[in-house]
Amino acid sequence: MRLEPAIPADALAKIRAPFAEASAAPTDAPVLQPLALLLDLAGEAMRSRLFVVQGEGGDEAALRPDFTIPIARVHIDTLAKAGRYFYEGKAFRVSPPGADRAEEFLQIGLEAYGGKDRIADDAEVAALAWRAAQAGGRKDLSLLLGDVSLFSAFVDSLKLEPRLTVRLKRAFSRPRLLKAELEGRELGAEAGRIAGLLSGLPEDEAVRVLEEVWALAGIEPVGGRSAADIAHRLVERAEAARGAKLTEAQADRIRGFLAISDTPDKALAAIGKLSGGMSKALDGWSQRLKAMAERGADPKRMRLSASFGRAFGYYDGMLFEVRSAALAEDEPVAAGGRYDGLPARLGGKANAAVGCMVRPARAYAGGKS
């Protein structure tokens, strides 16, 4: 098992220093996390990266692959509305086959919950990650920015038919689905005969007929979806097939949006030109960028990419990575973002959550990567 190269204490202190100014409580979180929870929130793709452990007679657990969920759970247990937490400790990920990565590595980071000024907090956290990464001594860093909510704002600005709008927004994180929508295709097979018949009925009648069909065919409904769920989907699909589709011009605008990747000012200008008017989101970004620059993030090293972060688990707002030209694209020096929806899924009340982490061994320029 590969370990990280050791970092001299003074170099580590320099990387840690920006976090001391962030008014966050130093916090520890359990190394062992429930496996089911991690997989539920991060998906099956995470399983092959997890070190899974099990005590005799106990539930399966995993060594924390990062601190986001562990710290979120700590915060939720305090029952406080807001909280800011600073952490420093080891995390564990199985190296991908063929790659020779350290499987036990140090992370330093910050998570903030319940903050009232989202734009200010976003900027603070991104700039913090940037300054900490820079403190490691590398001269080839860049900051890649994205925003999972920009696509929704863009689609809203096109003022499409409501159902189409909902479908497009849902499709952002699923490339196949989005491609099908843009090409005017429907994914999924032709409905079977019964399904086809049901989708032509008013919804409550469809539910009754479906239940009768099940009874006649001797089908026991298992798997937790009710007749209402199924009838609803059938009816909705039929309506979608009959309803508005994207025109070629609209599809082009969306494709244009997804292709935007440039310095932040140019990217925002391009988005503004293509959109039907999304001043709120764009102004928000201007403010964010201004605040980031004030806090020491270098605008000349930034890039804003409209499609960055499409499939990234639980982020639902701004997200970013600090990358070094000397390292691979999937070895970020620092990363973070906003994940307002996550605390609720963990049973918490906070609806604002943002954080960042740095990997000191990657930031440190003096050692081998």
Binding site: A45, R174, R176, L177, V222, G224
Partner: protein
């Protein structure tokens, strides 16, 4: 790893019976060491070979890791060993038994779900609505992950099932399953149906060779002997020999030449034909007035080379000894 060729076969169940029958039919007798319940054996007719009896999944693991040279086990168990299997294991020969399909099965009551694309949408809606991922019960983690990823589905998670996977949706432990099925009867009895594009693998018993084991020349030679016999026996079952009186050979020659063009092979006063062509061959010979024609089935049809053995030797390269 000099010494005998290590050949692993299943230690229990129907697969063990089928493998023993296949070996016996090919002309090799399995002789157990240490009594009928032992775990070591030899093959009478093939010296330089040691048989080990292991569970089907241990065989897959051992062929993968190079602990044994060759083994018979289900392709489903081999593929479950994970990515890059073909670099570590060579499938020498499908054996025609132990057939079963690895499938994705959903509740029959989900009449709006016929394909993996439907599943993708339903899983996503489920996640958005309930905040939890749809659960798939299975023992086949690696193949399930690869198949779902290939179909672009991410909004699910696997719950490992120890025993009766098909019961998981009814007991509320999962919404879907990925499991091995032969007739589909168990699935139907559990109110499940196979998705139209949900067949992950059409599996059967395979004779597989380890590309990670250390091979010597004598060990490769033993594999070639085994394969040659097995292949010759299989060819024989699909072939028939026709023979006619020696003095009619000239009369039969043009008919024979035509049949050779269609894949038959010439013998003295006769032909070796594919069994499927037997009736047609008999007919054209009769039409030419050739007779009486005797037909018999050969015991073995040997070819000078075994393609499978050649493939293995090419992959292994040249062992030093």
């Amino acid at each position: 790893m000099s010494g005998p060729l290590i050949f692993a076969i299943p230690s229990k169940g129907r697969l063990k019976e089928q493998v023993e029958a296949w070996l016996t039919d090919a002309g090799f007798k399995l002789e157990m060491a240490g009594g009928a319940r032992g775990y070591r054996a030899t093959l009478k007719g093939l010296p330089g070979l040691e048989v080990r009896l292991l569970s089907a999944s241990d065989i897959a693991a051992n062929v993968d890791s190079g602990e044994v040279h060759i083994g018979v086990t289900g392709e489903d168990l081999l593929r479950e060993r994970g990515e890059g299997l073909d670099e570590r294991v060579m499938l020498l020969r499908p054996l025609g038994f132990g057939r079963a399909d690895l499938v994705v099965a959903a509740p029959k009551s989900w009449i709006d779900v016929e394909t993996m694309a439907d599943l993708d949408e339903v899983a996503h809606l489920h996640l958005v609505r309930t905040g939890r991922r749809m659960r798939v019960a299975t023992k086949y983690l690696a193949q399930t992950r690869a198949f779902f990823a290939a179909h672009g589905i991410g909004d699910y998670r696997i719950v490992e099932s120890g025993g009766a996977t098909e019961g998981a949706p009814a007991s509320g432990a999962a919404e879907l399953i990925v499991d091995i099925t032969t007739t589909g009867a168990t699935l139907a009895a559990n109110n499940l149906k196979i998705l139209s594009d949900g067949v992950i693998l059409k599996s059967e018993a395979q004779l597989a060779a380890s590309l990670t084991a250390r091979w010597t020349k004598p060990q490769l030679a033993a594999v070639e002997r085994l394969l040659s016999m097995v292949e010759a026996r299989a060819r024989a079952k699909r072939a028939a020999t026709l023979t006619w009186p020696a003095e009619q050979d000239k009369k039969a020659a043009p008919v024979a030449a035509k049949l050779v063009k269609n894949g038959a092979s010439r013998r003295a006063n006769g032909l070796l034909v594919a069994e499927a062509d037997l009736l047609d061959a008999r007919q054209v010979l009769a039409d030419a007035g050739v007779g009486p024609v005797t037909a018999a089935r050969p015991d073995y049809v040997f070819e000078p080379q075994s393609d499978a053995a050649n493939r293995l030797m090419t992959e292994i390269g040249a062992p030093r000894r």
